[in-house]
């Protein structure tokens, strides 16, 4: 006889009351089981007769256990108080635990600090131009902030508690040096929360000027918070204002230590690059999920803006990096050489791979984006040459000074350095390569701007020639100083990066100014937002991952440069973790941190998309109008799908 089981869907569904009763029953069963387990574990500590009802006779073992417990209790009562220097974190150890939590805190903090910067600028453009689509875009960026801010605070609190628990003595020392900075920090944090939530929830509720003021104040306060926190960590790296014994001389000097301002500037720019890339990744996700052309057009535009912000921050970043590195050398040549020539020298080869990927994918995204604009075909041949420049420079930057070699290879090379390629493994070549990569990416931007635009000014031919000359001269200057570096003394050579940097920066500023004036009133073809290959959106995801990984890696080297010191040269690390791990180990920790971050940011995206669904359903899509004209700098043509302002529109 065959037993026929009913299908699950055929079973009668319990009523509401029956469901509650069932739930209570299950809860009671679970609670009873937990109680039983707890009691069992409690009794398991000492041997008991299996028969509970009978009082066990006092065996010699029982007596010995009682005496031992009494002795331990007495020892605990009479033990003198000792301040713990370190405590261990289970499984992964204290250093990795602090490392991961601090990195996650920094990543979310960077995002929360960066997004308001470009959100306010975009909102201001919308306010000045009267185009509400910019307002909506700024609001969409800001939507990502709310949950991220909570996560930043959560990881910040976690980091603080973990420092106090795991490194109490060192944390106490930092308190001793920086105690006057903590209250201002807390106050600023309070104000940041107030400005952020009033900026976000007050969208469309305040007058535009008041709302913009809130946004500006959010940036001011956020920057202040970052500056204070940077004082703590840069002091650990390049201490000042304390005696050799560690005794405090001046808190202000401790704050304004050697690397404080370079880190402030470097982080501010890096945050913008990172925040832009994450916002672009959000837009890419929404683009790929989009069901309509309107949505695709909107998120294509948003992704483009996010990437534009990211690359705008990324291009000047190496210059801020030069300044930071030169301050590190000025503070301690030993630390500088540890960074570039010692334990961390190979880390910069890994960094070169990351930056090469960033340049390649950023340019590829731009080249794919040219397809949106009719008439861009004439620039296609130029992209091939730009690709050649970027790949060659990438290869030079990733060339190690002394390659990993077998004994036979070393013998064949006649030393640790390769006879030909070794020439490319020095800073003169690497500085030249990175400056040329920056110039090539800038040229990609210029070409993208030209797509579908036809200048109408009389001097357009002269303008084109001037731009070409400026970029060409800058490239020649970079190459000249790069070669010169091989023939001069060290004292001269290390200063040659300055004219290289100035050449590139100067060319970028001059060519941009000419471009803006040249394209004023230009005839333009319509940009077909949303008409772009899906591969471009995956490129945005790779860029976001790479930016995040790069931040993790560079955070590691900045912290790791202290080697076995909590505060370099002042407070020595005597814990079990007082050594510098291998780069392989460090990259694994960075990778795990990056994956955790993307798991959490996916949660942020999901929550933001829930809010977005409601808005899209209440806003009417607009027709595809002509975008606003360029006024200054680079503004892309707006998306055709952009609709009303914030969730409820904005009073104008």
């Amino acid at each position: 006889m065959k037993l026929k089981l009913p299908k699950l869907s055929e079973l009668p569904r319990p009523s509401g009351k029956a469901g509650i009763a069932l739930g209570l029953l299950l809860f009671a069963l679970a609670a009873g089981a937990a109680w039983k387990l707890a009691v069992t574990f409690d009794r398991g500590a000492a041997y008991r007769s299996p028969i509970e009802a009978e009082a066990p006779p006092a065996t010699p073992r029982d007596q010995a256990l009682e005496e031992q417990a009494a002795a331990e209790a007495e020892a605990a009562r009479t033990r003198p108080y000792e301040e713990a220097e370190y405590r261990a974190f289970p499984v992964v150890g204290s250093r990795v635990a602090i490392w991961v939590v601090a990195q996650l805190h920094l990543l979310f903090a960077a995002f929360v600090l960066a997004v308001p910067m470009f959100a306010v600028i975009i909102e201001y453009i919308g306010y000045k131009s009267g185009d509400k689509r910019y307002d909506k875009l700024a609001y969409e960026f800001t939507k990502l902030l709310s949950v991220s801010f909570s996560l930043t605070a959560t990881f910040g609190a976690g980091l603080t508690f973990m420092l106090v628990i795991l490194y109490p003595k060192f944390t106490n020392y930092l308190m001793h040096v920086f105690s006057p900075t903590f209250l201002p920090y807390v106050l600023l944090f309070f104000f940041e929360a107030a400005f952020l939530y009033s900026y976000y929830y007050g969208w469309g509720k305040f007058s535009p000027r008041v709302h913009l003021f809130l946004g500006v104040m959010l940036n001011v306060v956020g920057t202040g918070i970052m500056f204070i926190a940077n004082a703590w960590l840069t002091f650990m790296m390049s201490p000042r204002g304390v005696a050799e014994t560690g005794a405090l001389i001046s808190t202000w000097e401790a704050v304004t230590n050697y690397t404080w301002m370079p880190i402030n500037i470097h982080r501010m720019i890096a945050n913008v690059a990172f925040g832009g890339s994450i916002a672009a990744a959000y837009a890419a996700y929404q683009f790929l999920k989009a069901k309509s052309d309107e949505e695709r057009a909107h998120y294509d535009w948003m992704g483009y803006i996010g990437n534009f912000v990211a690359i705008s921050g990324f291009l000047p970043l190496p210059f801020a990096g030069y300044w930071l590195a030169s301050e590190i050398y000025a503070f301690s040549q030993t630390m500088g050489l540890t960074m570039m020539g010692g334990a961390f020298s190979w880390l910069f080869i890994i960094q070169a791979v990351l930056i090469g990927v960033l340049f390649l994918f950023a340019n590829w995204y731009l080249w794919l984006g040219m397809g949106r604009v009719p008439g861009s075909e004439k620039f296609r041949p130029a992209t091939k040459w730009l690709l050649v420049v970027i790949v060659v420079c990438f290869a030079i930057w990733a060339t190690p000074s002394s390659p990993i070699s077998t004994a036979g290879e070393l013998q064949a090379m006649g030393g640790a350095r390769h006879p030909e390629l070794g020439t490319l493994g020095v800073m003169s070549a690497k500085n030249t390569a990175v400056n040329l990569m920056i110039l090539a990416t800038f040229v990609s931007f210029l070409l993208y701007r030209r797509c579908g635009r036809d200048p109408v000014v009389r001097w357009r031919r002269a303008g084109n020639v001037a731009q070409t000359l400026i970029v060409g001269l800058a490239a020649s200057s970079v190459v000249f100083f790069g070669i010169l570096g091989y023939f001069v003394e060290a004292a001269v050579r290390i200063r040659l990066s300055v004219p290289q940097v100035l050449s590139v920066l100067g060319a970028m500023v001059l060519a941009t100014v000419i471009d803006v004036v040249l394209l004023r009133g230009a005839r333009r073809a319509e940009t077909r937002w949303g008409k772009i290959s899906h591969r471009s959106q995956y490129a945005l995801i790779v860029l976001a991952v790479t930016f995040t990984w790069l931040m993790g890696l560079m955070g590691y080297v900045r912290s790791g440069l202290r080697l076995h010191w909590h505060v370099f040269g002042v407070v020595r690390d005597t814990s079990v973790d007082a050594f510098t791990p291998t780069l392989g180990y460090a990259t694994k920790v960075v990778s795990v941190t990056v994956l955790i971050f993307f798991g959490l940011i996916a949660f942020v995206f999901w929550l933001s998309s829930l809010a977005g669904k409601k808005e899209l359903s209440v806003t009417a899509p607009a027709a595809a109008p002509e975008g606003p004209r360029l006024t200054a700098g680079f503004q892309p043509a707006p998306a055709p799908s952009a609709s009303a302002g914030g969730p409820e529109g904005r009073p104008r």
Binding site: S332, A343, I349, L354, I404, G584
Partner: protein, 191 residues
């Protein structure tokens, strides 16, 4: 048969994980080296000059972190002076200073005299982050002297107290170097 489409979320997750794993893999390709804090070097009072040279070499390459900046037997565009032949050169580097006086000064007060063509940057060897003891510095001097010169330093010398028999008082040495203050564009010789 229609193949079900891969969800966008899964594609993005795979892409993010792949990119991360690629970078982690790159991190495994480079040389792997742990850097441990320097160990304390025990030096007996009755060590021979040869033993001092050996100990000094060990400190030079380890705790003293001298090799971070200095080379031995390299030429070309160097950031800090190459130390081959320093045992001979030390005696003639600064007029009026003996070889051992010069080496003591350059280790305790490296910026008092900067070799032309180099930049200042060497930390005092007896202070953090290097933090060598006086005995360890004597051993390093023995090693430096052994490169082309005669080892004259002894463990029983008081390097900072000339009246006790050996070398030089750093302040006096600084005064004896007329160009010291003007030579801020160069770098210490050893370390």
């Amino acid at each position: 048969m229609k193949v079900p489409a891969v969800p966008v979320e899964l594609k993005l997750a795979l892409l993010a994980v792949s990119a991360t794993l690629f970078y982690a893999w790159v991190g495994q390709l480079v040389p792997q080296k742990e850097v441990h804090p320097p160990e304390v070097v025990e030096i007996a009072a009755d060590v021979t000059p040869e033993q001092m040279v050996g100990i000094g070499k060990q400190i030079f390459e380890g705790k003293g972190i001298c090799v971070t900046c200095h080379t031995i037997g390299r030429s070309g565009a160097l950031r800090f002076p190459d130390l081959e032949g320093i045992g001979t050169r030390a005696g003639s580097r600064v007029p009026g200073m003996s070889g051992i006086e010069y080496l003591v000064q350059t280790l305790y007060e490296p910026n008092a005299y900067i070799v032309p063509g180099f930049i200042p940057g060497m930390p005092p060897a007896n202070k953090p982050p290097v933090g060598l003891t006086d005995d360890e510095i004597k051993a390093v001097i023995a090693f430096l002297q052994s490169m082309g010169g005669e080892v004259t330093v002894r463990m029983d010398m008081d390097l900072l107290n000339p009246e006790a028999g050996a070398a030089v008082e750093p302040q006096a040495a600084e005064a004896a170097v007329p160009a010291a203050g003007e030579a801020a564009e160069a770098g210490g010789d050893t370390g």
